[in-house]
């Protein structure tokens, strides 16, 4: 409406945000929250062993350092950039809502930034002071204490960020409950934390197990013991992860009913929810098998196969993480702004005067047979593209064909009737914002798209104006 419309007509804008966000979560959980405690633990083992067998103690310390090297490299590159990238992507995908949310949540995001920054700084300190720390027992011990403090800090960072997320998932309440503490009271908060903590430990364990097998030479004297230690770590956290996953699984529908009744309605949600159990059981089983074999046959683990537990545990976290995708609501800010970026208060105006004449970038005031397709495209761009593409992911044509039969010519009257009521039928969609002429144009456009698929380019290619993409007449 007021912003030039960035649009990815194949992958969809939401997918862009989701990919970056999930990558960030996996790195944060697997290479920081769960990773640092285990590295510190290995470093500590080296310190204890060092007193009896100096060479072995040193080997343990080296192992821990090399592991931390990997964590350090990835968190300060891909980890940090995806953290910032969530911002970039979200504000491209939906500038009006991020622009409003940033006013509402300025302090929350500022806080999030400060803990994020401190975490990166502490990780750098921990790794970059490692080589100096081996000079004396005293400085080694101090380094280990720092590692412990960092472990606690990264866990707290996660705890705070989960709260902020929880608060933002329910922004309808921001007016009445104007405090961040509300995030901690969210019914999903504790289950999330109980789930994320052991899963982070478990994922990090699988990362470290794989890395250890590659770092240590075949004849390393500590290999047996190190593999056993890491396997025991995974083995301890796996059952806790199973309990956490189950609590979360059990809590989701209850939370959704209270909070977001609509998500339940989608078929996708049901499919996802059913698959949670299987993914969970599978991941836990793999966790047990791998850690069990690592524990009892530490010298016989085949290195290449160790990618399996890594992939499975990432999948495990990723599957649960998808819940955010289901937190779809017609509003981004309860009763204030719809997910298409339009204000609820502006609806009557748009429905009376027309959406296009009020929009900054359309340039169409009256719809004529000549500009009808173009107008329809503009209406689609403004009111549907934040969630739909023409022919890509969540394609509008496919969605209608699914209802009325694939390959069948679409029936304009049925479509109009549907769109007028779409917010009642699919409660996560906002109501149609335009007037009747615009509805006709939109439907004509969708039918045209069914017959002659044409890509809808975003402002990143065609410029801000919505003018002049489709100046063809409907031919039928």
């Amino acid at each position: 409406m007021d912003f030039p419309i960035f649009h990815l007509d194949f992958m969809g804008n939401r997918m862009l945000v989701a990919v970056i966000a999930i990558l960030h979560v996996v790195i944060n959980h697997g290479l920081a929250v769960g990773f640092i405690p285990l590295v510190t633990w290995l470093e500590y083992k080296g310190f204890v062993i060092n007193e009896r067998r100096h060479a072995d103690g040193h080997a343990w310390d080296e192992l821990a350092r090399k592991l931390m090297f990997i964590g350090f490299i990835i968190t300060t590159t891909v980890g940090a950039l995806t953290g910032v990238g969530i911002w970039f992507a979200a504000s491209l995908a939906n500038p009006a809502s991020i622009g409003s949310l940033v006013r509402v949540f300025y302090f929350a995001w500022f806080t999030e930034w400060i803990v994020f920054m401190l975490e990166v700084v502490f990780i750098m300190i921990y790794f970059l002071t490692w080589k100096k720390s081996v000079t004396s027992a005293h400085s080694k011990l101090r380094h280990i204490r720092f590692g412990l403090a960092l472990s606690i800090f990264s866990w707290l960072t996660m705890a705070i960020i989960v709260a902020i997320l929880g608060f933002m998932m329910d922004p309808g309440n921001w007016l009445s409950k104007h405090t961040l503490l509300q995030g901690f009271a969210n019914p999903i908060y504790l289950p999330q934390l109980i789930f994320r903590t052991p899963v982070a430990m478990m994922i990090a364990g699988t990362f470290i197990l794989m890395a250890t097998l590659y770092i240590l030479k075949k004849d390393s004297p500590i290999k047996r013991e190190a593999v056993k230690t890491v396997s025991a770590w995974i083995m301890r956290w796996t059952p806790i992860a199973a309990v956490g996953a189950f609590i979360y699984y059990w809590q989701i529908p209850r939370m959704m009913i209270g909070n977001l009744p609509v998500a339940i309605a989608t078929q996708q949600f049901q499919d996802w929810y059913n698959s949670l159990l299987w993914v969970g059981v599978f991941a836990i089983a793999v966790g047990f098998i791998v850690s069990g074999s690592g524990f009892f046959f530490p010298t016989r683990l085949p290195r290449p196969l160790m990618v399996i537990p890594v992939v499975v545990s990432v999948l495990f976290l990723g599957t649960f993480e998808r819940i955010r995708e289901f937190i779809r609501k017609p509003y981004v800010i309860g009763n204030y702004m719809y997910a298409n970026g339009l204000l609820a208060d502006d609806y009557p105006l748009y429905q009376q005067n027309g959406l296009l004449s009020e929009s900054t970038w359309s340039g169409i005031c009256t719809i004529t047979p000549e500009n009808e397709l173009q107008a329809g495209e503009n209406v689609f761009a403004i009111s549907c593209t934040r969630c739909h593409t023409t022919h890509g992911i969540n394609s509008i044509v496919w969605n209608f064909e699914r209802m009325y039969g694939a390959g069948q010519p679409l029936n304009p009257d049925a479509m109009k009737a549907y769109i007028k009521q779409m917010h009642n039928v699919r409660t996560y969609m906002p109501p149609f914002p335009g007037n009747d002429a615009e509805l006709d144009a939109l439907v004509a456009y969708i039918i045209f798209e069914q017959k002659e698929p044409t890509t809808l380019e975003g402002a990143q290619l065609r410029g801000p104006s919505l003018f002049g993409n489709l100046d063809r007449k409907v031919t039928n």
């Binding site: 006013r103 700084v121 078929q267 429905q351 005067n353």
Partner: protein, 442 residues
């Protein structure tokens, strides 16, 4: 209409700012300078590393020097990135419409920053940690570094283009993608100004870094002394700051006039005065050959800091000036829009009328019209089966019908799945099923 097409005036976000505008601007200027300081050091040190490594092909002392400089990049680049979030947040709040519009118009380039910088950082690490491994193949080692260096030289264009583009809404309609936005006036002079600043600041930073009393190089030099290193860095700062005497005026003179004002002029001149003072002091230091980090040196640092402060403020004044008219237009448009929106509410039928209208209809029928009729017709197949067929199934069993509506199952293979309606209350379900079962379909 054509007017609108020429100077588009969007409506503003109508929520209040989270803090007074002045405070946010203070946060923005300060946090931006902090962020750009580390970015300058990251870029400058990468260029220097590259340069000295090239020289190191002939004289191994320079390879050692390159390695010493490379060691500083790790921390500076990470700080640069994480410190970028605070100014990003603040500019998002203050200039929402302008900044996000510019982002959208350069969308692919803008989002490419994320993977591109991550990759450049990874290559930078690869370079840093393979110094010994590629001792026998320096050219290859240098080639690795050239990739992040080129990236760091190119990526600022994306930021500058955005920051520049947001200032000129009257030209947005000419923009079709990143390259055409890059071609708007002033991106290139800004770029060279930034590049020279990066080298100057890096020189100053490394002067102090190498001049510390506790400084011991991790790898021994053959010939170069601490004072030599400092001398080189001072030269660099001197030269780069001096070159701003060309790039600075070039930037100022090519600024589109709409944002230039006397206040801007005086702030810039103020900055220039301090820069000149620093130049003179550096020149005298250079001539004297005394490289101690003493009070005189601190005076140089202080003058340059003041210059940077002035320039950062000037940048902000220009932005405010350039956008003033458009902001006023936008405020006016937002206001008329809000009034129009209010009027539109008054045109809506009064709640009482709607109520009366509703009470004449059966509530179940009303619900059916808004929730079911889009898919169910009386006697023909629409999306779902005709109601003649559907209602017959539940003729004597309203409870089962209610259950179906709430959470439908999967029955007919040639139909799609029906949507569930868990949001309906029990009363609504009762009304609905009474209507469905009671109505004469056909």
């Amino acid at each position: 209409m054509n007017m609108i097409m020429q100077i588009p005036v969007p409506k503003d976000i109508s929520l209040p700012l989270p803090l007074p505008g002045g405070v946010l601007m203070g946060i923005l200027i300060f946090s931006f300078l902090l962020h750009i300081l580390f970015i300058n050091l990251m870029l400058g040190s990468t260029i220097l590393t590259f340069w000295f490594q090239l020289k190191g092909l002939k004289d191994s002392d320079y390879d050692v020097l390159a390695r010493e400089i490379a060691a500083t990049i790790t921390v500076n680049k990470s700080m640069g990135v994480v410190l970028g979030v605070a100014p990003l947040l603040s500019i998002n709040v203050l200039y929402t419409i302008y900044f996000y519009s510019a982002n959208a118009m350069t969308g692919y380039a803008w989002i490419s920053i994320v993977p591109w910088v991550a990759l450049a950082f990874l290559l930078l690490y690869l370079h840093k940690y393979t110094w010994d491994r590629f001792a026998g193949n320096r050219s290859f080692h240098i080639a690795i570094l050239s990739l992040p260096m080129l990236s760091f030289l190119v990526i600022p264009f994306i930021f500058l283009t955005n920051i520049n583009l947001m200032l000129f809404p009257e030209r947005w309609n000419e923009v079709h993608g990143f390259l055409s936005a890059l071609a708007l006036p002033n991106v290139f002079p800004r770029y060279f100004h930034f590049l020279a600043a990066s080298l100057a600041l890096t020189g100053l930073f490394l002067f102090i870094y190498f001049g510390r009393k506790t400084y011991t190089p991790a790898h021994a030099f053959n010939r170069l002394q601490q004072a030599d290193l400092q001398q080189m860095m001072l030269n660099l700062t001197l030269g780069a700051t001096g070159s701003q005497l060309i790039f600075g005026p070039l930037l100022f003179l090519t600024l589109p006039s709409k944002g230039v004002s006397w206040s801007l002029f005086f702030v810039i001149v103020g900055g220039v005065v301090f820069a000149l003072a620093a130049l003179v002091l550096m020149w005298r230091m250079q001539v004297s050959g005394n490289m101690a980090i003493n009070r005189r040196f601190m005076l140089i640092v202080a003058s340059l800091t003041v210059t940077v402060g002035f320039m950062g403020t000037g940048r902000h004044i220009y932005r405010e000036n350039a956008l003033r008219t458009h902001k006023e237009l936008m405020a006016a448009r937002t206001k008329t829009h809000q009034e129009a929106a209010k009027k539109a509410h008054e045109n809506l039928p009064l709640p009482k009328e709607t109520q009366e209208l509703l009470s004449t209809i059966n509530p179940g029928q009303e619900l059916f019209q808004s929730h079911c009729a889009v898919c169910h017709a009386a006697a023909t197949r629409l999306v779902g089966p005709p109601m003649t067929e559907a209602s017959a199934i539940y003729a004597a069993n309203p409870e089962a019908l209610k259950k179906w509506i709430k959470a439908p199952g999967r029955k007919r293979p040639d139909y799609p799945q029906m949507t569930g309606f868990p949001q309906l209350t029990d009363q609504q379900l009762t009304d609905l099923s009474a209507y469905v079962l009671g109505n004469k379909w056909n």
